[in-house]
């Protein structure tokens, strides 16, 4: 492997990892606070990418339409998330876990079918937006600028989330509810509101990832399950409920996938799974997770 191809794969892997991080972070935050495994998280991502595509098409002539889409699409997804939390999840928090799993599983079916009804089964693409078209030369190589932008987004969102959770009043409430729901409730925190807020935040992150990825890839049905499986691998590697775990896990999986694709394209999908199995054997609770 030459240095050029090595650097190229590393870049592709990291940018993929950073997008995955956005999704896995949402999944992880939702699980940490609500104790709900949202199987429909990939569906929220897919919904975000379809919304992004829709906005860019609807505002085809408008300058900066992509950035409007990045603003609007995640908000739409967050709103859908809010509706899901208030009307569907809230009535069953007291029920057994199995019903929550299956409910979110049902949402996978509903969202996928709804997307199919609205946008059809074809592939859609979104152009690389201004001002990130083209490439930039580094180490004698040319890197697509948009990928560099994606790579920058990862740490940015990571730091923003850390600040939100550790430094703000809202974050204090989230941590209080995560730590002890009853006690937080007794001390006057509006727990249902925090739940809704956290679910919407998670959905917003999935929507953000969904609107940032299309310029590099395509918008299509089926990405929901592919993405949610990748996120599962990430949280198994990193530990569910840990933001840092999601970051590290996403980075590792992104790099593994990119190099796997380069070395043995036919078995690329297997690399992530093998990685997950290895982690399960040597460190069953994930790299950053704590024993249950």
């Amino acid at each position: 492997m030459t240095f050029e191809s090595f650097a190229g794969q590393a870049l592709a892997g990291v940018s993929l990892g950073m997008v995955w991080f956005l999704i896995a972070a949402g999944l992880s935050i939702i699980f940490g606070t609500l104790k709900v495994l949202n199987l429909a998280h990939g569906s929220l991502y897919m919904l975000g990418s379809f919304c992004c595509y829709q906005v860019t098409v609807s505002l085809a002539g408008v300058p900066g339409n992509f950035w409007l889409a990045v603003l609007v699409a995640p908000l739409v997804v967050a709103l859908v998330g809010g509706i899901i939390e208030v009307f569907l999840l809230r009535p069953i928090y007291k029920a057994e876990m199995i019903y929550q799993y299956i409910l979110t599983f049902a949402l996978v079916l509903i969202i996928a079918e709804a997307c199919k009804m609205i946008w059809g089964t074809g592939y859609h693409s979104v152009k690389v937006p201004w001002p990130f078209q083209g490439s930039v030369a580094m180490f004698g190589l040319s890197f697509p600028i948009y990928n560099l932008f994606l790579i920058a987004m990862g740490p940015l969102v990571f730091i923003a989330l850390r600040t939100l959770i550790n430094k703000t009043n809202l974050g204090r409430n989230i941590r209080a509810v995560t730590e002890n729901r009853e006690m937080a409730n007794a001390l006057g925190t509006n727990v249902p509101q925090v739940y809704t807020g956290v679910f919407m935040l998670g959905a917003w992150l999935a929507g953000l990832a969904g609107s940032l990825w299309p310029p590099v890839s395509v918008v299509m049905l089926g990405s929901d399950m592919a993405v949610v499986i990748d996120c599962f691998i990430i949280v198994v590697i990193g530990g569910l409920g840990s933001l840092a775990g999601a970051f590290v896990g996403a980075l590792i999986l992104g790099l593994t996938t990119a190099f796997g694709l380069y070395l043995i394209p036919k078995l690329a999908v297997a690399f992530g799974f093998i990685l997950m199995i290895i982690i399960l054997i040597i460190r069953p609770y994930g790299l950053m997770g704590e024993p249950e």
Binding site: I102, L109, E113
Partner: protein
């Protein structure tokens, strides 16, 4: 929780009335080829196999409290074992169908060993991940599985081309399997599984190796899923990657849920309700999944015990009101 648990277990008991009902159902099943047309008989045969797979899943889901999202993986292992052995290796039907549960059991032991290392939420997502691995293997291993074309010319004996023969064969296989599952879940071993469902910590404290029992439950479930897959391969003469896809797992989960997971007969009733619903609704709309998703949401919000559980509660209430 404990109160609900007691209720659940008592629902699983045998009574003379159940015995009479069971006999009645068996008589109707045997008489069905004389009552139904070819196409409905074919649908009923499919239903038998689906009922077996749902019951197999329910060993984990309802009896042990392990939410598996990957039963389709084991189902596909069974189907492809039979399919590949017959089509590519030229095995006879008997050894090929007997090999299916063995293979599914072995794969189930391997996958289960990883999955039971983690509990609850991780278990659920690991089962989904592993079933997707199986799907990927089936999809990519072109030389053996035929990739996305599947296996389409499994040389099934001519005997099965006559749908009535096929129906009776499946009825016999499924009845025997269900009887064995019934024996297993009502044995001391099955009671231990149910105790683990209610409270794994307490069961661990009284000296039971919970993980080992969960693994056993996983393997038994896989074996019967393998049989169901193998039977479907014989019935249809084909095997496709779709058998391992998560949508198939969703079907099985919904069937269990629809019928009621805390009752042996839940998955069976669920199969009938689900199949009839599919046939009726898909006659009206192309967007069957949307309706299906809506139905699941409704069941979970309004009728969490499923058809059988709700009816059983109704009867129990009426009885106690009369007494």
């Amino acid at each position: 929780m404990t109160g609900a648990g007691m209720n659940r277990i008592s629902l699983l008991g045998t009574s003379p009335r159940n015995g009479t009902m069971l006999l009645g159902v068996m008589i109707v099943m045997v008489a069905l080829p004389y009552l139904l047309g070819q196409s409905w008989l074919s649908i009923t045969t499919e239903m038998l196999i689906l009922a077996l797979s749902a019951s197999a899943l329910n060993i984990m889901l309802g009896y042990t409290g392990m939410v598996s999202f990957g039963p389709a993986g084991m189902y596909a292992v069974g189907a492809y074992t039979t399919g590949v052995l017959m089509e590519k290796m030229g095995w006879g039907m008997l050894p090929a169908t007997l090999a299916a549960p063995v293979m599914a059991g072995l794969v189930g032991a391997l996958v289960g060993w990883f999955c039971v290392r983690r509990s609850a939420v991780y278990f659920a997502l690991l089962t989904l991940a592993f079933s997707q691995i199986i799907w990927t293997v089936v999809f990519q291993w072109y030389s053996v599985t035929g990739g996305d074309d599947g296996l389409v010319s499994v040389p099934v004996p001519d005997f099965f081309f006559e749908i009535t023969n096929c129906y009776y064969f499946m009825l016999a296989v499924v009845s025997v399997c269900l009887f064995i599952i019934w024996k297993i879940v009502n044995s001391p071993f099955g009671m231990t599984l149910q105790a683990i469902r209610e409270n794994p910590n307490r069961v661990e404290f009284i000296g039971v190796n919970v993980k080992r029992y969960q693994l056993a439950s996983f393997v038994i479930s896989s074996v019967f899923l393998g049989i169901a897959g193998s039977m479907f391969c014989v019935f249809s003469g084909s095997a496709f990657p779709d058998y391992a896809y998560w949508v198939k797992s969703a079907d099985m989960l919904v069937i269990c849920l629809l019928g009621g997971i805390y009752n042996f007969f839940g998955p069976l009733v669920g199969t009938v309700v689900y199949t009839v619903l599919t046939k009726v609704i898909s006659g009206y709309t192309m967007h069957w999944h949307l309706v299906l998703g809506g139905i699941i949401v409704l069941i979970i919000l309004a009728m969490r015990k499923g058809v059988v559980g709700t009816l059983a509660n109704y009867w129990a209430n009426r009885k106690s009101a009369a007494a």
